[in-house]
Structures are given as C-alpha cells and as structure tokens.
C-alpha cells in the first residue's frame, strides 16, 4: 500500500453495544468488523454492498462520528483513537461529508447563506467578509448561481439537484482533504444524477481530494471511482481497481451482485439470474467462518463454515477474501 496514503484504516471495528435496562450488556452489533485499507491522496474509491453491510457505519467512523471499538483510523499522521475531543472536532472539519438525502441534510429553517456559514462559524472564521468570500467561492465551484439569488433561499425553495449542490458546497467550504459521499445521488432524479456525479468527480480532480463514495449502484461506479471495495456483513470481501472488479469479479458475492445488475439488452429480458437466496446475516451473531457461506453456492463444508478466509490476491492488485482462491 502506498506510503503517500493520507488515510490508513487498520483492522477497524465499530461495534454498537446493546444494553438491557441501560447497563446490562447483552451483545454487540458488529457494524464494521475488521476492515483495513489505505487511500492515496487524490484517489476516488467506491464502497459497495447491500443495505446493512456496514458501509454507512464505516463512513461515520471515518468522519469521527463513531469512536472505533477496536483498530484505528490514521488520517494525515493522526490517529483517531488517541485524539482528544477538541482534536476530534478539528479532525471532523478536515473531512467533508455529503449525505444521501439532500433535503434532510439541510436545516429547513436556515437560508443557504446561513447553512454555508455555519461550518465556518463553528470552526472559528470570525470575519463576516471572509466568510462571505469563501461562501461565494464555493458556490461558484459547485456551479450554483446567481449567488445573490441562491444565498437568500431556503432549502425547500431549491430543486433536488440544487439542494445536493448546497450539501456539496457545505462539505467543501472548510477545504477538506478527504470527502465521504454516502450514496450522494440515490435520492435524486435520474436526470440530475450524472450532473452531480460529474461535479463531484471534477471537484475531486481539481482539488486533488481523496473521495470515498458509498453506493449500491454498481452501474455508475466505473466512471467515478478508481477502486472498488465490496462489503458484506461488516467486512471488505473484495477490493480491486474498478474495471478489473467489474469485468472479472472473483468473490462469489461480488459475482452475484454484478449478476443482479440490470443489463440494458433486449436479449437478456427472459434470462433467469443466479441470485443467492437468503438474507444478509445477523450482525449480532454473524456466522462462523466466511460470513457469506450460508448463501454461497460454492460453500465447502469443513472449510468455509469454520475458518475465516484471509485476503487472497488471485489477480495482481485484486484482493478477495474467499477460500476458492486458495
């Protein structure tokens, strides 16, 4: 892994404790359960997986909203686990966050000027002129204009695409070096999705940002990310450069995920897809061995249900956690 990487994630666990009567521990939800990777500066990556696979918990841990239960996140040489509360707040300011639901992500009682000023106020930019300058610059960057018009508006007066641009502007206004976008376009009209994705891509390249997409839409990933991480039940089960993974998926789960993609070809209309049955496992008591083995068509009794598969490298720079590659 690259030495230049500003973000190292080492064996990260984010568990949520379940308690009864407020103090009796009855178990833990293992939302993120042993994830390691490193992101290089200026790299765009995508995390994919079904609902409940731990993508969003991973994102929130990276944002500093959840404390890791075990393992560590090292960002620009600082370890998240050892940061003080003030340090944590400072850390959060350096990570931008773009949320899924643009309307919900904007406080409905603030106008756009106030929404964009809030992060600056919170992070100690006292001069009103300075704030105004930075707000206008970032509005220009997300192609929202005319500024006079937009700044006085409230979120409900904006279209979905405009709202998401405001959310992106808010994430950018503190000039972060890492940006996390949690399904940034899933709530938008199909017509504006590409615009927003292109915008994010352009800003990422212009600012040389490290950008982590979280998505379950594999069809768009190819154009907007360089690497893909496939997550299942709190773990990264496959990671590879984007074309490599999409063309040659190695893990049985990734294959199923890709097979489920709608292929706009009339010849496929009657094709039956081999989609694994069952549901994602309970994160409270995940199955022993490979997490996917109860649903896996290739599961090998005695191996997959006993031992946890390590990351194999079946192809160069293409890692997959499956005993099939042994």
């Amino acid at each position: 892994m690259s030495e230049d990487a500003p973000l190292h994630v080492n064996d990260l666990h984010t568990w949520f404790e379940l308690r009864q009567w407020g103090f009796l521990r009855v178990g833990s939800v293992r939302a993120v359960d042993g994830v390691s990777f490193a992101l290089a500066r200026g790299e765009a990556v995508a995390f994919v997986g079904e609902s409940g696979c731990g993508k969003s918990s991973l994102a929130r841990t990276l944002l500093g909203l959840h404390r890791p239960s075990h393992g560590d996140v090292v960002f620009e040489g600082e370890s998240l686990a050892t940061l003080s509360d003030a340090g944590l707040r400072d850390y959060r300011a350096r990570v931008g966050y773009v949320q899924q639901d643009p309307f919900g992500a904007l406080p409905p009682f603030m106008d756009v000027r106030r929404i964009l000023a809030e992060p600056l106020i919170v992070n100690g930019v006292r001069s009103r002129a300075e704030r105004e300058r930075r707000i206008r610059a970032v509005l220009d960057e997300v192609r929202l204009g005319p500024a006079e018009d937009i700044l006085a508006k409230f979120p409900h007066m904006l279209s979905g695409g405009q709202q998401q641009r405001v959310v992106i502007a808010r994430a950018l206004v503190l000039e972060p070096t890492l940006m996390i976008a949690d399904e940034p376009v899933s709530m938008l009209d199909a017509s504006v999705r590409v615009e927003i994705l292109n915008l994010l891509r352009r800003i990422q390249q212009e600012r040389n940002l490290t950008l982590a997409f979280i998505t379950h839409d594999l069809s768009t990933v190819r154009h907007y990310a360089e690497r893909i991480f496939v997550m299942y039940a709190g773990r990264v089960i496959e990671q590879a450069p984007v074309d490599d993974l999409l063309d040659e998926p190695q893990h049985p789960y990734s294959r199923a995920l890709l097979a489920a993609l709608a292929d706009p070809d009339a010849a496929n209309a009657r094709q039956q897809r081999a989609v694994p049955g069952g549901e994602p496992p309970s994160l409270l008591s995940p199955p022993a061995g490979c997490r996917f083995h109860p649903r896996c068509p290739y599961a090998m009794a005695g191996t997959c249900d006993v031992d946890d598969p390590p990351q194999f490298e079946p192809r160069p720079r293409h890692y997959s956690a499956c005993w099939l590659h042994r």
Binding site: R60, R92, A105, L106, P108, D111, N123, F154
Partner: protein, 446 residues
C-alpha cells in the same frame, strides 16, 4: 426570517387572528395606559389607602349600567357652603355663624348615604354646632347638636338616635315626601332644593369652621365601588398589566426551560434523559394547586413568589414528554449529523439546530398557555392567596365572593373582572389557534 414573515402574512387571512390580535393589543394598550396614568405607588394608595375613598358611595354600580337602565339613579353630590350666604353675628365673647348648605335633588331614588364632614379650627374651647335639615316643602327637621374640634364626621345615616326619632333610615326619611295618611305606603323621593342649615357658635375670634355635606349616590364611575368604597376601576385597570405580566412570564419561564431541558435530555440520552424523565413523571403527579396553597399559607402570597413556584413546578411538566416526542426524530435528522460532522458543539446543536425546528409548532402552544396562567393567578386570588398588596382581577372576585356580591345583586362586581378574564382568554385563544393553523404543518391543509 422570511418564513416568519410569510407566516404573519398568512395570519392576516384569519379573521380570528385579527380579532385576537386586536384584543391582545387592546389589553396591552390598557396595561400601558394604567401603568403610565396611575403610577405604581399611587395605585397602591388608591387600592389600600383609605382617606381618598370617603367621598365614594359604598357598593355603587357602574354609571354605564345605570345609563342602560334609564339613567335616573342618583349621583354623588358634594355640597359646600356658599360663602356669600354665610351669616355671622357677634355675641358677647363669642360669634354665631349660620351656614346654609343647599343642593338640588332630582333623582328617582334615595341616596345611599348622607354624611357631613366638619372641620373646626378652634383655640380655647370647642365650637358648638347644630344641624337642621330643611326639605323643599319647608319642613324643618333638627338633626344633631354637638361640640366640634378638629376633623369630625357626622354620619347622618348611621345616627341611631335620629333613626329612632324619624322612625326610618335617616337618608330615606330626610329625603322623602311627608308621610301620607296611609302609613304603609312606601316612601317616595321628594325632589327639589334641600338645605342643611348649620348653626355654629365659635368662642375665639380666630376660630373657623368648614363643613361639607356628601349626598352619596348609587352609581360611581365606569366600574362601581366595593364594600370599602374603593373604586373598582383601579383594580380593573391595574389588574391588566399584572395579569398579562404574570401570564407572559409564567408561559415564557415554563416553555423555555421545559424545551431546553427536553432537548438536553434527547441529545445526551442515557442517564441524563432517564433522570429528566423520572423527575418529570414524579412532578406530573404532584398537584400544583395544593402546593401553591401550601406556599401561600405557610410562606408568602406575594405574586412573585407564586410566579416562581409556578415556573419551578412547570419546568418538569408534561410538556417535556411532548417536546421529547417532537425532538426525538429531529435528533436523527441528517442535518444534525452533518452539523456534528463539521464540528458543531453540543450546545450549538441543541440551541441552534434542534430547538428552532420545533419553535414554529411551539409558539401557538405558548400563546394559548398565557391565559392559562392568567386564570391560575385569578384562581389563587379567589382562593384567598392573592397578592396582599397589588390590585388584581382575582382579588376583586375574591372580595365579591366574601361579600356575597351576587346574593346582594351587585352583578357588576363579579361580571367586570370575570369579563376581562374571559376577554383575555378569548383574545389569546383566537390568536393562538390561528397561529397553530399557520405554523403547524399538520393542520395547514385541513
């Protein structure tokens, strides 16, 4: 914020909002007028003084009620001697003064009382005064003879000796027609020019005598008077700012603290929330009124102490449960998460992100809460726990209650403060409900 401005624009379309706002403005106007026109110390004097009431009739009705009934009820007349008609006659070692106090009486009804106030400025020995009543039909009725020094009140109506002599209550006997043969006919008012003739003998050349006859009417001012001759107008006027201040302060005090505490509990969850919830549950079963009665009986009935207790007991009130239910989904809103992600502090999130979200829904509740506290204050006063000094609507009602006003037919005494209380409730309720329509999104399209 433009959202508020739009809301206010929308409010204008509700006639009830306009009417309610009108009533509230009227009450505020009355409050400002009262505080400016009758300064606090003067109001206290007027309400608790004593001397200034003696020219008021007892339990007189309001003038407007009399106007409605035809307007013939007697008004209070203050009669002074006409200096030009005072006769002085020198005697050996003394001086005799004849002082006629004349007045014209043409009301339908008897006056409620007759009093003579004498002021004798004497040096060696007391002045000697004899009072004679002269009716329009030239009957001369001797009243009293007495020695006078300093200020003295001669209450003709309560002179038992005179009553026995006249065989009727003096202010009726003195003002009625000469009894006819049929004795059992009710006395009728004799209208015309009356004279109270005052003959005095003064024994020192520098002595002087001044006299004033008050023929008390049966109506007084716009609000009437109570059993202590107090003008009820003072209490009705000054009751307005007190009621509004009490209602507003109690409503602000309880809603703001309740809201902030509910938000703190929702935000921090865990132990903090549990403690707040348990405190609320305990407080919810504590009865407010008996506690106030206890504080009033054992400690102080000052309105400010009561206000403090009301706010204190109102902090952990059922409102906490309501606000908590409203805030719980807001706590999970993505914009709160975003605020956390850019480093907003806990206090900022609670005060700037959570509370403003429910403020629009809260303001109507707040407005309708004000009269609740106004009524509470009146109830306390009615229970005898009113402020010992300040004139309030509740105190008027309390006096009316203890003096059996309704039994005696003094409806004005009960109706005017009760009417003001209802007007307050009506104004705030109409305004509050219209606000609710405008600001409460669930009701907007109903």
């Amino acid at each position: 914020m433009s959202r508020w401005r739009a809301g206010l624009q929308q409010l204008r379309q509700y006639p009830s909002a306009v009417a309610g706002a009108g009533i509230i403005l009227l009450l505020v106007g009355v409050s400002i007028y009262s505080v400016v026109a009758i300064p606090y110390s003067q109001a206290l004097d007027l309400w608790r003084g004593g001397d200034m009431w003696q020219d008021h009739p007892v339990n007189a009705g309001p003038v407007w009620a009399d106007r409605l009934a035809g307007g013939a009820a007697p008004r209070t007349q203050t009669v002074r001697a006409d200096d030009e008609r005072v006769q002085t006659e020198a005697l050996p070692g003394a001086r005799r003064i004849g002082m006629p106090l004349t007045f014209h009486y043409d009301a339908d009804d008897f006056p409620s009382e007759l009093n003579v106030f004498l002021r004798a400025d004497v040096h060696d020995s007391e002045a000697f005064v004899r009072l004679t009543w002269v009716t329009p039909d030239e009957r001369e009725i001797p009243l009293v003879s007495r020695r006078v020094s300093g200020d003295q009140r001669v209450s003709l109506s309560q002179d038992l000796d005179l009553e026995r002599r006249l065989q009727a209550v003096p202010h009726i006997a003195l003002m009625s027609e000469a009894p006819a043969d049929a004795d059992d006919a009710p006395p009728r008012v004799l209208t015309g020019d009356y004279e109270l003739r005052l003959d005095a003998i003064l024994f020192h050349p520098e002595d002087s005598l001044d006299a004033e006859l008050i023929v008390y009417g049966r109506v007084h001012g716009l609000a009437g008077t109570d059993h202590q001759r107090r003008d009820l107008m003072v209490a009705l006027l000054w009751g307005t700012p007190i009621a509004l201040a009490f209602g507003l302060l109690a409503a602000v005090g309880t809603t703001v603290t309740t809201l902030v505490i509910a938000a703190v509990g929702v935000w921090y969850r865990g132990v903090v929330d549990a403690v707040i919830q348990r405190l609320t549950e305990v407080n919810m079963i504590l009865p407010l009124l008996p506690i106030l009665v206890m504080v009033g009986t054992l400690y102080s009935t000052s309105i400010w102490v009561m206000l403090g207790v009301v706010i204190l007991l109102g902090i952990f009130s059922a409102g906490i449960k309501m606000y908590r239910a409203m805030l719980l989904p807001i706590r999970e809103a993505p914009y709160i998460e975003a605020a956390k992600a850019y480093g907003a502090s806990n206090a900022r999130i609670i005060l700037r992100y959570m509370i403003p979200r429910i403020l629009p829904v809260l303001i109507p509740t707040f407005v309708t809460l004000i009269p609740t506290f106004v009524f509470l204050e009146a109830s306390l006063a009615l229970l005898g726990l009113g402020d010992p000094e300040l004139p309030t609507w509740g105190k008027v009602l309390n006096d009316a209650q203890t003096q059996s006003a309704l039994y005696h037919g003094f409806y004005y005494w009960v109706l005017s403060p009760a009417g003001l209380l209802m007007l307050t409730g009506l104004g705030f309720a109409m305004f509050g409900f219209a606000l609710d329509r405008v600001f409460n999104p669930r009701l907007r399209n109903l």
